[in-house]
């Protein structure tokens, strides 16, 4: 649910303007960290960004519901914090061009998605010292989804409070959103487990800490 992109005109300017400013600041910081990135790294980042968008378009049938993945957890593990945040920003920007999420809220959408993605690599590296890579990927993705989903819920709650929505209705909305939030954590983590299980067998060097590539966490 962290990629239910917020459209223009729904949130008050007091929320989206600081979000945009903070996102641009983080992009500048990330760009400093990535200034020595090779064109191949940028191309890999672009391909995984495209995979995030492709995954968002896929419909995963789960009983009566259809779930749309984000894959920002595994992508965050594979790319590192700075690149993962850039991927989140670029994905939000491209989606805003087709009306999926607003122009003015690109920053907030990127912060919601990117904050989780930025934590994925450090969480994975810490966990992979004790656990096997698929389990570490699963747990790192759970952390990612927990953070992104919680931020999304916080943005929604703040928006409702600013717009003077009654506490009963906020509670009702939270009651609907919270089970979806938990389902998102479980689904994304299980998919991430599968991704890591396959990569460990076929290209373990793509996972951090397993070989020469990819580069150290940024």
């Amino acid at each position: 649910m962290s990629h239910l992109h917020i459209p223009d005109g729904v949130l008050p300017v007091g929320l989206w303007a600081p979000g945009l400013g903070l996102a641009l600041l983080l992009l500048l910081l990330g760009a400093r960290l990535l200034r020595r990135a090779s064109p191949q790294q940028l191309a890999y980042q672009g391909a995984l960004g495209a995979l995030v968008l492709a995954a968002m378009a896929l419909e995963l049938p789960l009983g009566p519901l259809e779930y749309h993945l984000t894959l920002i957890g595994p992508v965050g593990v594979l790319l590192g914090p700075a690149s993962a945040f850039q991927v989140a920003f670029v994905a939000s920007a491209i989606l805003s061009l087709i009306g999926h999420g607003g122009f003015t809220v690109v920053g907030l959408n990127a912060l919601v998605l990117g904050a989780g993605g930025a934590l994925a690599r450090p969480a994975y590296v810490a966990l992979a010292r004790r656990w096997r890579p698929p389990a570490a990927m699963l747990a790192a993705t759970a952390v990612t989804q927990t953070v992104s989903g919680a931020l999304w819920l916080a943005v929604m709650a703040a928006a409702m409070c600013v717009q003077a929505v009654g506490p009963q209705r906020v509670k009702l909305a939270a009651g609907v959103a919270f089970p979806l939030y938990l389902a998102g954590i479980l689904i994304e983590s299980a998919v991430a487990f599968g991704i890591a299980r396959f990569l460990v067998r076929v290209r373990p060097d793509l996972l951090p800490g397993a070989g020469a590539r990819p580069a150290e966490p940024r």
Partner: protein, 239 residues
């Protein structure tokens, strides 16, 4: 979603209207004006006026109305959350809540439907850090290819009964399938790197430089901008 984007992307390159001939920079400025007015407009009449103007732009660009309606209608589902939360029994509040994002998304569809992506990204890439600007181009370039492959993979998973059985198995299988896309993305980046080196990559994926080249068609964009400003000045203080 991506199919809609692919159709709009095709229209941007194949279209021959005045809007298609106008420079990307002037259209980005007009689009920004419309979006910001929609976001800040205090008046319902102004919002209705802006929405009508955005439809005028989209239809005069000969974008198919059904495609435009579908592409610009995505915010409805999300905005309904707020409509329900702020329901006060009047028609004004829901209309106000719906028209803001709808006008913005319709403007986005008009902009993307009349501007090929290298022209559209070029001015944005100049404002963003290098790696982010390059990321816009590289991600969009890879998108349709990745999407086609992912769609094929999904069909294969379904045909081979990968969508049956307990959820845990299905999700893990889906993950393994998507991991092949990660591998493909990595191999693709190696090929692209070799191509970029052969073509003398100088540290920046540069968009077309003619995004700011003016033409007579830009006068129409200017006229549209003046109409939008006029409507805003006229209706700003109305209820």
């Amino acid at each position: 979603m991506i199919n809609t984007l692919a159709q709009i992307d095709h229209l941007a390159s194949a279209g021959r209207t005045t809007w298609h001939r106008a420079s990307a920079l002037s259209k980005v400025v007009l689009g920004s004006e419309l979006v910001l007015l929609a976001v800040f407009a205090p008046s319902l009449r102004l919002l209705v006026g802006l929405y009508a103007l955005a439809w005028g732009l989209a239809l005069s660009a000969r974008l198919p109305w059904r495609l435009t309606l579908v592409a610009s209608g995505y915010p409805i589902a999300f905005t309904l959350l707020f409509v329900l939360a702020r329901w006060d029994g009047t028609a004004e509040t829901p209309l106000r809540l719906l028209l803001r994002p709808l006008t913005a998304s319709l403007t986005a569809v008009w902009l993307v439907g009349t501007t090929p992506y290298p022209d559209l990204f070029a001015p944005l890439a100049r404002l963003l850090p290098r790696s982010v600007g390059d990321g816009l181009f590289l991600t969009y370039r890879a998108l349709f290819e990745l999407m086609r492959r992912t769609g094929g993979l999904w069909r294969a998973v379904r045909l081979r009964a990968g969508t049956g059985g307990p959820s845990r198995r299905r999700l893990t299988l889906a993950g393994e399938g998507l991991a092949t896309m990660v591998l493909y993305g990595f191999e693709r980046s190696e090929r692209l790197y070799a191509t970029m080196r052969l073509r003398g990559h100088n540290g920046r994926v540069c968009g077309c430089r003619h995004f700011a080249e003016g033409s007579r068609a830009d006068l129409w964009v200017l006229a549209a901008g003046l109409v939008v400003s006029g409507v805003a000045a006229w209706l700003w203080r109305t209820p």
